[in-house]
Point group: C2
Chain length 284, copies 2
């Protein structure tokens, strides 16, 4: 689980973007990920370097973020490594569903307890254990300076993994997260399939509920950006529940609403620099 296979690489913005595969014990399969390593991390002697983990949304693979987010200019400037894993295990022998919001491409960053998902859909353990182990064994990534961010389903993943594993991550932010999946159709469908009727488990993977219980307090601030023309705003994302929970918990939350912006990577590329800077400052 510590070795990685290098699939391809691209030079980009004074750094190198690697596409890798590596075997995961958690998902019992070979997982895809991308890793951007800025030149400064290769040539400077003060390695290891801070690392931002990016969790993508429904239907994404390890390379939507790499092509569309425009994140690497700022990451090079600040000397930040960025890791973007796939959103689920994949392949012919892995369970799947024809829908875009369940199965391959829709792992929801949780450990499934139900058939047919349980053997491979162990995304919480994959992201928090196997991915970190594989990255830190092969790249100059600092185990003491990890941040996590993501978009939509990945925003949910970033918030909940950070809250459930605060010892792993020093900074957390999100774009248009599914703020309370146990109250949103996407989350309800996925949680029912992956977790069954265990509603205590549902709550453990619901950012707004976790935050209301004060489990986010290890973070000095959480940055969330949300477009006001996002078609999923009211029914699926519900950022107001996150705001209410933060107020209840006394957790500082910098929630920024943006007139006119939607749910696409056009929205992400418009504000990614601010998130890179937010993590860069906290991981310095």
């Amino acid at each position: 689980m510590f070795s990685v296979e290098f699939i391809s690489q691209h030079r980009v913005y004074d750094g190198i973007l690697y596409f890798i595969r590596h075997d995961s014990a958690a998902t019992q399969s070979s997982m895809s990920a991308s890793i951007f390593v800025p030149d400064v991390a290769e040539v400077r002697t003060d390695a290891p370097f801070p690392t931002l983990y990016w969790l993508s949304g429904l239907t994404c693979t390890a390379n939507n973020f790499t092509e569309k987010a425009g994140a690497y200019r700022k990451a090079s400037e600040l000397g930040l490594i960025i890791v973007a894993p796939d959103t689920s295990p994949r392949g012919g022998t892995i369970a799947d569903d024809e829908a875009h919001d369940l199965g391959q491409g829709a792992g929801f960053y949780i450990d499934a307890t139900q058939v047919p998902w349980k053997p491979n859909f162990q995304m919480e353990t994959y992201i928090t254990q196997d991915l970190i182990a594989g990255i830190e064994a092969n790249f100059p990534a600092d185990p003491k300076r990890r941040g996590i961010s993501g978009h939509s389903m990945g925003g949910h993943g970033a918030l909940t993994l950070a809250m459930n594993h605060p010892h792993l991550y020093k900074s957390v932010s999100a774009f248009a997260p599914i703020a309370s999946p146990s109250r949103a159709p996407w989350g309800q469908k996925a949680f029912a399939a992956y977790l069954g009727n265990d509603h205590a488990a549902w709550e453990r993977h619901d950012a707004a509920i976790l935050m209301a219980k004060g489990m986010a307090t290890p973070f000095d601030d959480i940055l969330v950006d949300q477009g006001l023309s996002d078609p999923f705003l009211e029914k699926q994302l519900m950022p107001d529940l996150l705001e209410q929970a933060a107020a209840t918990a006394g957790q500082k939350l910098t929630m920024r609403y943006h007139e006119g912006y939607d749910h696409s990577y056009y929205f992400i590329q418009s504000f990614i620099d601010d998130h890179i800077a937010f993590h860069g400052e906290r991981l310095r």
Copy 2:
């Protein structure tokens, strides 16, 4: 030909990206394009604004550049409109070829004289007449301040259209252009299909040959970026022929080679800011 149909729009980097369709007399079909209009062009009173036309490469549509180039941050900063048209007419009644380098997605920015391409594949006339007319009738784009750039097949298009229509464009640049298509397999295949054996016509669409004849001299400088790990460098792109031609013609050419960079949009996104600034300065 002056009316456009608005298909969709996205807010991005303090501006709006519109996807449109409009009827072209040249291609006798409905053409797709994207237009980024920065807010400054909407609110400032000193309209109209400088406009950069971006021509994409083989297989691209009107939205590869929009998602992958990361161009709009700098365009917003400088108040530049960016127009990215499709690479050919498209649809069920339009002639096509199964290959990726001929037919739909591969118009090569020339006017075809041969069947079955002649009725619709009139991309030179489309880009230089119908596209400009449609854009300038519907957006605050300044007819006196147009620049043109592009990638690969679109780099060839930018160079040759600028040289053949210097009254239309005040600035020109390219990423990894097919510098001498009449000497490259991609160009030879396309020119034979679209232009037949008329080798005078081939020369009119070959940037290195045009430049060697001194036809590029209206431009104070031409910026070209080329990755040294580009797999098409030697057989298809041949930037050395452009450099020789520029020396012969006394045309200033800023040819920048970049160690490690390939032919992808990772290369483009790494240097797009420099091109936006190059055009911004000349179109100010």
